[in-house]
């Protein structure tokens, strides 16, 4: 651990990517097999391997308590010091300077300390062990010992660079190592295989879950400048699950890589009937009459060890598959998504509920994305997942080849046209606002909202609105349309109440857009589009 800390300092003091990789590679190549695994884990900010169920459960409070006890400084000095440093590991290293026995710490010893920390129950017991550690080891070592606990070394060594260094240290190509690391889900395991020339033997193993590819969240269609480059699927409100199938046996693994097969005997039975072997990625959803129900309908199943036979009827489940990672011993993860999808469709062709393939759609522009989003919501789903055309399956990564867009609905920018006083403690303030969208060169009202701003903002708005007042109609103050709000809502309906002919359902204020002018607000046309989109799913309003 002492050498690792010194290495980390050197890596932090080099800004060049290649220099960092070279430093790490030369350090790793001198390590024995067991230390190689430990160093790789520690350098990626993990005390244990990804499949190790142990958790440290050590928070900032415990670290602070322990360093307060070990350093002898008063709590205020320690708190201020941590704040000034900005990183608790670094702060602990600095606070313990000159106060430790400076004993050496090996990687193996550090690992057993982490295990002991995970084993101890209760904050007091953990803090006692931390205090002992803080008094025993070198300050620089403590800095990184703690950074592994908090999960980020902050030395500008990103996962990809670490893998490059591991590849260089083990004499293999970075791509080969990365692929192996994704298959095993454990870079340390891949490194060992690489070092001993067994990289080719690492393959996706059936009934041993792989890391899931993850989606990066986006908040609106505006973040997708090139909709034509993306495939669009609904985002289901279910449990992400990997299905492993071979020779009449099936298993389902959830995101925590836990085996959840027992909760879904109905799905397992259907999966067992698939020919050959396969690993599928998809979502377990509650399913009735051709549509997904909220996930809560399934939650009771997970709570039980074994699911009684009558439950599947109460809350029927379906497996909506959207990716295929392995087929009859052939790995597909490096293939473009379109090819994996084609294989998936072939595999599930002729199968019916509860095995489904997630419908895939396409958008040519952002407006169409917005429409698809509204449609997905109308079907009772959470939103959309966008998958980049031509992308491979990046196990364990949130790399941006998948995006998830999940929001109540797209928001609208509107302008305040009238305001009213509120009730209770807001009785003296203007806290209820009627708002409008653009229609040609006029503004037409589409709703009224009274929540979502802070008291401070309401006070400020009250002052601004009083200055903008043009007329009073009973309790209502009419104002010059100048102040722009961003509102969220559950849907659009036809309404006689407003001149626009539409009203937003359950509008709420997301934020005051001080950066926008009245001419920037959304148009009545946009409101009409959202209303029309909600019509294409008859029988259900867009709200949930």
């Amino acid at each position: 651990m002492d050498e690792l800390a010194e290495l980390a300092e050197r890596v932090a003091s080099r800004s060049g990517r290649r220099e960092k990789v070279a430093l790490v590679a030369s350090y790793l190549s001198a390590l024995g097999d067991e230390d190689l695994g430990r160093a790789i884990r520690f350098l990626s900010g993990r005390p244990f391997g990804p499949r190790d169920p142990r958790r440290l459960a050590v928070g900032h409070v415990s670290l602070r308590e322990a360093v307060t006890a070990a350093s002898g400084w008063d709590a205020e000095t320690v708190t201020l010091s941590i704040r000034e440093v900005g990183d608790i590991g670094e702060a602990i290293g600095l606070l313990m300077r000159g106060k430790t026995a400076e004993r050496p710490l090996s990687l193996a010893e550090a690992e057993s300390l982490y295990r002991e920390l995970a084993r101890r129950r209760g904050a007091v017991e953990k803090e006692e062990l931390l205090r002992e550690c803080f008094l025993r080891y070198r300050p620089l070592t403590l800095k990184y010992f703690v950074k592994v606990i908090t999960g980020d070394l902050r030395i500008g060594l990103h996962e990809k660079m670490l893998l490059e260094a591991v590849a260089a240290a083990c004499g293999v190509k970075p791509d080969a190592l990365r692929a192996a690391a994704e298959r095993t889900g454990d870079p340390a395991e891949a490194a060992l295989a690489a070092r001993h020339g067994r990289l080719e033997q690492i393959s996706t193993r059936l009934f041993r879950p792989l890391d899931f590819m993850l989606a990066r969240p986006i908040a609106s269609a505006r973040e997708v400048p090139d909709p034509e480059n993306w495939l669009v699927e609904d985002k289901y409100d279910g449990i992400r699950a990997q299905a492993h199938v071979a020779a009449g046996r099936a298993a389902l693994f959830s995101r925590g890589l836990a085996d959840v097969t027992q909760a879904f005997p109905d799905l397992a039975a259907a999966l067992e009937r698939l020919p050959g072997s396969a690993v599928l990625d998809g979502e377990v959803v509650a399913w009735r009459e051709g549509r997904a129900l909220p996930f809560t309908a399934l939650q009771q199943r997970l709570a039980r060890k074994a699911v009684p036979l009558f439950l599947p009827l109460e809350a029927p489940a379906a497996y909506v598959a959207y990716d295929l990672l392995l087929r009859d011993g052939r790995e597909l993860m490096e293939l473009p998504i379109e090819e994996r999808r084609a294989e998936l469709e072939r595999l599930l062709a002729g199968h019916d509920e509860p095995l489904l393939v997630a419908p895939q759609r396409q958008a040519t522009d952002q407006d169409e994305l917005v429409r698809l989003f509204a449609e997905a919501r109308a079907r009772g789903n959470e939103g959309l997942v966008l998958k980049r055309r031509g992308s491979r399956y990046e196990a364990g990564r949130r790399g941006g080849a998948w995006l998830k867009w999940k929001q109540p609905l797209a928001t609208l920018d509107v302008v305040i046209t009238a305001a009213e006083q509120g009730h209770g403690k807001r009785a003296t303030l203007l806290s209820d606002y009627t708002f409008a969208v653009r229609s040609g060169d006029r503004f037409v009202n589409v709703g009224k909202a009274y929540s979502g701003l802070t008291d401070q903002e309401i006070r400020e708005l009250t002052e601004r609105l009083r200055a903008l007042a043009t007329a009073r109609a009973g309790p209502i103050l009419l104002v010059r349309p100048e102040i722009v709000l961003e509102v969220a809502f559950d849907g659009v309906q036809k309404s006689q109440r407003h001149e626009s002919g539409y009203a937003l359902r359950f509008p709420r204020i997301v934020r005051w857009r001080r950066d926008k002018r009245p001419e920037d607000v959304d148009s009545l046309e946009r409101v009409r589009q959202i209303w029309e989109a909600s019509l294409s799913s008859p029988g259900r309003s867009p709200s949930r």
Binding site: S13, D74, L80
Partner: protein, 327 residues
């Protein structure tokens, strides 16, 4: 003795003497030539000869008509019935602590101070006092600095390595104090040095005081020099430094924290300061023997609390003060 802590500076009313005031006053003691202490011109100024030499470079013609009184180290003078004596404070060249003896009371104003010997300048003398006014720029137990020997080694090794790689070593160092120290050690080690004009203008005063810089060049600012470049941090943003052609080091007390990398763009952090690090500061306070301590700059509240816990009568007088320029 009445000591007033005001937004204008510290005022010793019985002597009609201001300590490092921010605006023009009738009579002032200037502890050293950093802007936040020596930014104003006064009718009558007491300071060491070296501080006055630096002060003249900064204020030039504006000093016309001002009475500048050069005070030798260790020799007392009388003022309104008090005996005043200047003692070295290490900080920057000419920096001095001021001891005021008045009716049996010994009041010591340290100004900015460093206890370990500096790369350039006189070592600090510890002075016994009853009452102490001390700074706490680095008054938290996270600030540990290199000794001058360690700093010299790091600075020279950094510059040599970069030059061997074919890159220009850029050393970010405050224009008055660290810049001259860095230039001095590099020149002494035979490393070619180019100094930014804002720092270069003070070099002759350092050379005259016995810290020669043989062979330095003033940087003309047009291209990267084939030498180590000494650059005050405030010019960092306005200077083109192509990433692959330079190595950047930051020489400062603030370089004790990793977040200095993000703030300065430096790769190498060399935590050497012209202020005392935390332990030095505590040692300095203890060495004065003062029971009563006023903490006037930096982490004043925190450092006063730490002193209180150690049995001092310590305070952090409220005193709005402009941002310091040093560190």
């Amino acid at each position: 003795m009445r000591v007033e802590f005001t937004g204008q500076g510290i005022y010793l009313a019985d002597l009609d003497l201001w300590l490092d005031p921010h605006h023009r006053q009738r009579r002032a003691w200037i502890s050293h030539a950093h802007r936040d202490h020596a930014g104003a011109v006064h009718e009558e100024v007491y300071a060491t000869a070296e501080t006055l030499a630096l002060y003249r470079i900064q204020h030039g013609g504006a000093l016309e008509g001002a009475a500048l009184r050069a005070v030798p180290f260790g020799q007392s003078w009388e003022l309104c019935g008090a005996r005043l004596t200047a003692y070295p404070a290490a900080h920057v060249l000419g920096a001095a602590q001021l001891l005021v003896q008045w009716r049996g009371l010994r009041l010591l104003y340290t100004g900015d101070v460093k206890l370990l010997p500096p790369l350039c300048g006189r070592p600090t003398e510890t002075v016994r006092a009853d009452r102490l006014i001390v700074e706490s720029t680095f008054g938290l137990p996270i600030f540990h600095f290199l000794t001058r020997e360690q700093a010299r080694e790091r600075i020279v090794a950094f510059a040599r390595c970069a030059l061997e790689e074919g890159r220009c070593p850029v050393l970010l160092a405050h224009e008055l104090g660290r810049a001259q120290e860095v230039a001095h050690v590099l020149c002494q080690a035979g490393v070619p040095v180019a100094v930014h004009p804002a720092a270069a203008r003070y070099l002759p005063v350092y050379a005259e005081a016995g810290f020669p810089m043989p062979g330095w060049d003033e940087w003309n600012g047009s291209a990267l020099p084939e030498a180590a470049l000494v650059l005050p941090p405030r010019f960092r943003a306005s200077v083109q430094l192509p990433r692959r052609r330079v190595r950047i080091a930051y020489v400062s007390g603030w370089a004790a924290l990793d977040n200095a990398r993000a703030r300065t763009g430096a790769e190498e952090l060399i935590p050497y300061s012209d202020h005392a690090g935390f332990e030095e500061l505590l040692e300095l306070v203890e060495a004065t023997g003062a029971r009563e301590v006023d903490v006037v700059h930096g982490y004043t509240g925190a450092f006063a609390r730490i002193l209180t816990l150690r049995g001092k009568l310590a305070r952090a007088p409220e005193r709005p003060r402009p941002e310091g320029e040093n560190g």
